[in-house]
Symmetry: C2
Subunit: 686 residues, 2 copies
């Protein structure tokens, strides 16, 4: 991935499709690269011109006799592949601005497929196609057709929508936000969020990475890469396309497959990604992370010159990881010394409406002695409030303290200048307390989660021979053109992975059976998947007579099919466990309440492999079935260790046995009297 | 309430505590009233001066020999009551700016109590104490100590926090928001949100009423008043103080009792109040309502020049009442005629990044033919986007159309001028699509809910004699110093209200019993409230022998207490119903799943009387127990009519019998086989 450095930090650039013609993308790009201060070499390529912008113009990439780090392609789609085919011998990095690829038509899709093959063959890095380009403010390079050059800063912004970049640039220019990279990924043909995360992980200029995504291209790789980078750098993602409707809007737009909302949410949580739900929250969060250090702990103090906003701030802490902390007695004493008696020395500290800058200053200093992570300073513009002086005091204090300082200057016109002072001091300021607290909380959540991110999951050693045996069972069934395994085969796989499964015997005329009554008789066939609905299960067979009758009936109903018997179990508490394949993230492990409740209460949750035991237990204890594992009125807690262990085994199985399409343990009987859980029925669809 | 007109639209004002001294509140108020264009008569009152601001100064209110509509009091708390006592004969309307009343100390509470008595005795309207005052831009009157005069507009803003007014004024001056009234209610001693809602209902200048509240003063009155006004005017409330912590912050601030979050939420829904959760949402919603008519229907079209914001907009519709509507085939044909082929003619309509003003204009006109309520026009500032011209086209279109037009100009610096154009055309513009869609949805929700608001609830005629009898039962139990009713009494009340309750007999030595086995024996005493826990219930008594044994045991365990017997019921599906008294809104009716599930699943919901049958059914069908009333796999639906009827009776009972502290029907057996529900145990705490 280090060769992406040459793409995003090139010493020389060729602009293919350079133009002086008004309204042409090639003109905007040429001007952006030539006029904004980029100091590398620039070669203009356009076979129709000998000179453009008073510079030599080349007919093709190949005709340039000097090294070119990057070629930007802004010519009609139909000419793109040829240009890259020819240029790809000397140049290895391309940005394809041109639209007209997979986002438009079947023809475009073919074109893109062809381009991908060229890229593979010639080992090229290609950003796009159908993208806005990228901007690298540090080297004053705007290799896009969006105008202007934003400030250099520490935010890398990667976007699947060019227009969101345009909008963000305009907001940034008003709000003084600085960027290390702005990258439009367009159709994500070969460089997607994954490759960019890998690249940006090692980009020293980037403190925080923000991404606007409409789909995750390869969830399984994303999972690994995002986990790794999240351990060192915060990644903030606005994932659009949540509803079915907006997924439709997407596929007409970039052709990306949007993943199901819940799974994406779990994926982000698992990988330590900071998830935001609106553009506003996205900008608010990136801005905060860009400017401050993460809070050292969850404790937060709020200082305000008015009660109302203090109450709103208090409300905003509800459900957050950061907390309004109880102040130390000593601090309160100190505050009491200089604050008027009507003021509140409880957190939020209310300095009252007539507070001058000295009250803010002294309060900040007093609170600094507390073992808290953050201080939020609220100001409302009241009659005699010296906005600017207070902003200066906060700025001065920020230079001295280790704490995370955030400001909420609640107003508009009057406070414009004081807001400017805060901006220049790199203090994140928000108009509304809710926004400040939310952004601070997002950053803190990343900070505490990053050390919990597990890169590998818990390994369970499955003997290699056994693991191959499991694979062979599936292979054989395939060879027999079956879409489901027999219970015998399923049980063998369960045994290999160490999940206790009920005993069974196959019934046939030749074999003697050892029968303990009562028992259950079932048809076991890939043709009868919903056994109960089709009368393929007979419960409570009490004696030999019943048994003969049942076998008679079964053989008639399901001639030539396997018939098995199992000991009858007293049904107490049932779970259902399963494996489902998600298009984006691969196999996921589902668990929930079984029995008659399954449909009505829909008490299910899921895990994304790989997982650790502690992650599994945490998920169970936040899931809708957590009540089973808590001592409640008249109920002993069920054995969470045992259930977690089974879920771990199932998650390893899900990763190992990739050919499994669906997997159901229904029911798994669980106990709270020391017995181990037992799988009663197992269905494996291949 | 019509006399409040004189308070908020006075022809003459006395300023008590007028001053020229820097930093004094009396100076700020005097200058605001004298210098901003108010044309009524102004009398300055201050016994220490003969002249102030080059005007005559009066020693007291009484010494003014002309009619005074309103006196504003800005003197130390300890002098306030005397001044109003003396002035209250000639002046009937007061604004008490002075702090130092119930918000501070016990002494202040007494002072406020005294002031309230003066107000009652002399029939005075008093705003405050401890308030910022009020502003009436139409008559250029700023009767507060906040600076400046906002634009005249159609928003009435009522606030329990003066600082929120200061902040909002400053935001408004930047965003061009206009007000009809800005009223600070301070301690809400006699004029609270209720009186102001009554007044503003008839204020023709106010189209929308926004309130920042930290508590509801009299929920029972609020319920009636808010229902009434919501039928004609939207009321938007930001209710702060949701969490326990912020409730603490409040009580140190104004002494208001904050209500429990869920109940307030239900109260607002019931009364048609538009509830917002943050200051940002508050301003966004008021601004939209102020400028546009409510959407004629839920259908919404989105026009955008970029895919990304279109996807974000689509996401934002999720869970909303307003919907992205499918466009008519004819409209699509029309759009296809002039839009480039890469554009999307599905909703959101994507005009593409190079769209000029003509594409916006023609698209708006084409979509205008659709039967939709609203059009949201999104613009991102791309390279050749003519922002200002597009803003002008939208403005021109807005003048011609009946549809609700909202703009989302997504940017900062570049689009400043075009945003100004939208402001001047009174088109609500938002930076982010989520905010626009949310505000529009809030307004539409009000529009469709307002006709559903029921002012009176369903009346159930309870015979007057019977109703008195029920009251007498409670009175008698009180006379006997009991805190709970006997089952006999409870059943009598249930019978009066027509709720079927199980038969019973009292057991004592003298009386012959008619016994059907199996049966249940219970102790019936206000001293044994948790019967089951204390072995006060014996189930499944099967024969005479069992009965004698049981009675023996009961008499020993509970000597001198009432013993009753009831037929044993087969337990199938159980509900629990009850009445709880909420501090803010009075009695509420609770219902939920009974039996062993009660504690674990906590499937409960509640109703605020008075209610209609349709409101009850709607609530049930949105509650966690809705599944009981739906046909599901292997379960017939339970009888919702019967359960709703019982809840209606219970809600009438709750309103009629005010002395009841708690009321439990546990269990109520419900059926899905035609049988009527039956109350098995009833506990009434008085």
């Amino acid at each position: 991935m280090d060769n992406l450095r040459k793409l995003f930090d090139p010493k020389s650039i060729a602009i293919v499709g350079a133009s002086e013609e008004k309204g042409k993308v090639g003109k905007a790009i040429s001007e952006n690269i030539l006029n904004l201060g980029y100091e590398g070499k620039v070669f203009l390529v356009n076979p129709k011109h000998e000179k453009l912008f008073n510079r030599e113009c080349y007919p093709s990439i190949e005709s340039i006799r000097e090294p070119v780090d990057l070629a930007i392609i802004a010519i009609p789609a139909k000419f793109v592949n040829q240009a890259i085919q020819n240029g790809g011998d000397s140049v290895k990095n391309f940005v394809v601005i041109s639209a007209g690829f997979s986002e438009t038509s079947e023809e475009g899709k073919k074109l893109e497929q062809e381009l991908l093959e060229i890229a593979k063959e010639k080992k090229l890095n290609i950003l796009g196609p159908n993208c806005l380009g990228f901007i690298a403010p540090k080297i004053k390079l705007n290799a896009s057709f969006a105008g202007g050059l934003p400030n250099f800063g520490n935010i890398s912004f990667v976007s699947q929508s060019g227009a969101i970049i345009s909008a963000l640039l305009d907001i940034a220019s008003r709000d003084n936000i600085g960027f290390s990279n702005i990258i439009s990924i367009g159709n994500k043909m070969s460089l997607s969020e994954n490759e960019l995360l890998e690249y940006l992980e090692n980009d020293e200029d980037s403190k925080v990475i923000g991404m606007y995504l409409e789909g995750i291209k390869d969830g399984i790789r994303f999972k690994e890469i995002a986990k790794k980078i999240s351990k060192s750098k915060p990644v903030v993602i606005l994932k659009a396309g949540k509803t079915e409707k907006s997924q439709r809007a997407i596929s007409s737009h970039t052709g990306a497959l949007a993943g199901s909302e819940e799974i994406i949410k779990a994926l982000f949580k698992k990988t330590g990604v900071i998830r935001v739900d609106s553009l506003d929250e996205f900008i608010n969060t990136m801005r905060l992370i860009s400017l401050v250090n993460p809070p050292a702990n969850e404790k937060t103090a709020v200082i305000t010159n008015a009660g109302g906003p203090g109450v709103l701030a208090t409300d905003a802490f509800s459900g957050k990881e950061i907390k309004l902390s109880e102040l130390d007695g000593k601090t309160k004493e100190k505050l009491r010394e200089f604050l008027p008696k009507e003021s509140s020395i409880e957190n939020p500290i209310d300095l009252l409406g007539d507070a001058q800058e000295d009250r803010y200053e002294k309060t900040l200093e007093s609170v600094d002695a507390e073992n808290i992570g953050s201080i939020i300073t609220i100001l409302t513009p009241q009659e005699n409030t010296p906005f600017d002086k207070i902003a200066q005091k906060i700025s001065a204090f920020k230079e001295k303290t280790q704490k995370t300082i955030v400001a909420v200057f609640l107003g508009g016109k009057k406070i414009e200048k004081s807001v400017e002072i805060l901006k220049n001091s790199k203090i994140p300021n928000y108009t509304f307390p809710e926004d400040a607290i939310n952004a601070l909380d997002k950053y803190y959540q990343w900070e505490i989660n990053k050390n919990k991110i597990d890169i590998r999951g818990n390994a369970i050693e499955i003997d290699k021979n056994k693991s191959e045996k499991a694979e062979n069972i599936i292979k054989n069934a395939r060879l027999e053109n079956r879409t489901a395994l027999y219970f015998r085969e399923a049980k063998e796989i369960m045994d290999i992975y160490g999940i206790d499964t009920i005993e069974f015997q196959e019934v046939n005329a030749e074999k003697e059976l050892e029968i303990d009554f009562p028992m259950v008789m079932k048809v076991d066939s890939d043709k009868v998947l919903h056994k109960t609905d089709k009368q393929g299960v007979i419960l409570n067979i009490g004696d030999e007579n019943d048994f003969r009758e049942a076998y008679q009936k079964m053989s008639e109903n399901f001639p030539k099919e396997n018939i098995i018997i199992q000991p009858m179990q007293r049904i107490e508490t049932e779970l259902i466990l399963g494996i489902k394949k998600d298009e984006t993230v691969g196999p996921i492990v589902i668990f929930g309440l079984g029995g008659i409740y399954t449909e009505i209460f829909k008490m299910v949750d899921f895990l994304i492999p790989s997982v650790t035991i502690s992650e599994i237990k945490e998920t169970i204890l936040k899931s809708p079935i957590k009540f089973l594992f808590e001592e409640t009125r008249g109920q002993k807690a069920y054995d969470i260790e045992n259930v977690a262990d089974i879920l771990l085994k199932l998650s390893v199985l899900a990763e190992n046995l990739n050919e499994i399409k669906e997997f159901d343990i229904n029911p798994l009987l669980i106990y709270n009297d020391g017995r181990k859980s037992l799988a009663i029925d197992v269905k494996i669809i291949i």
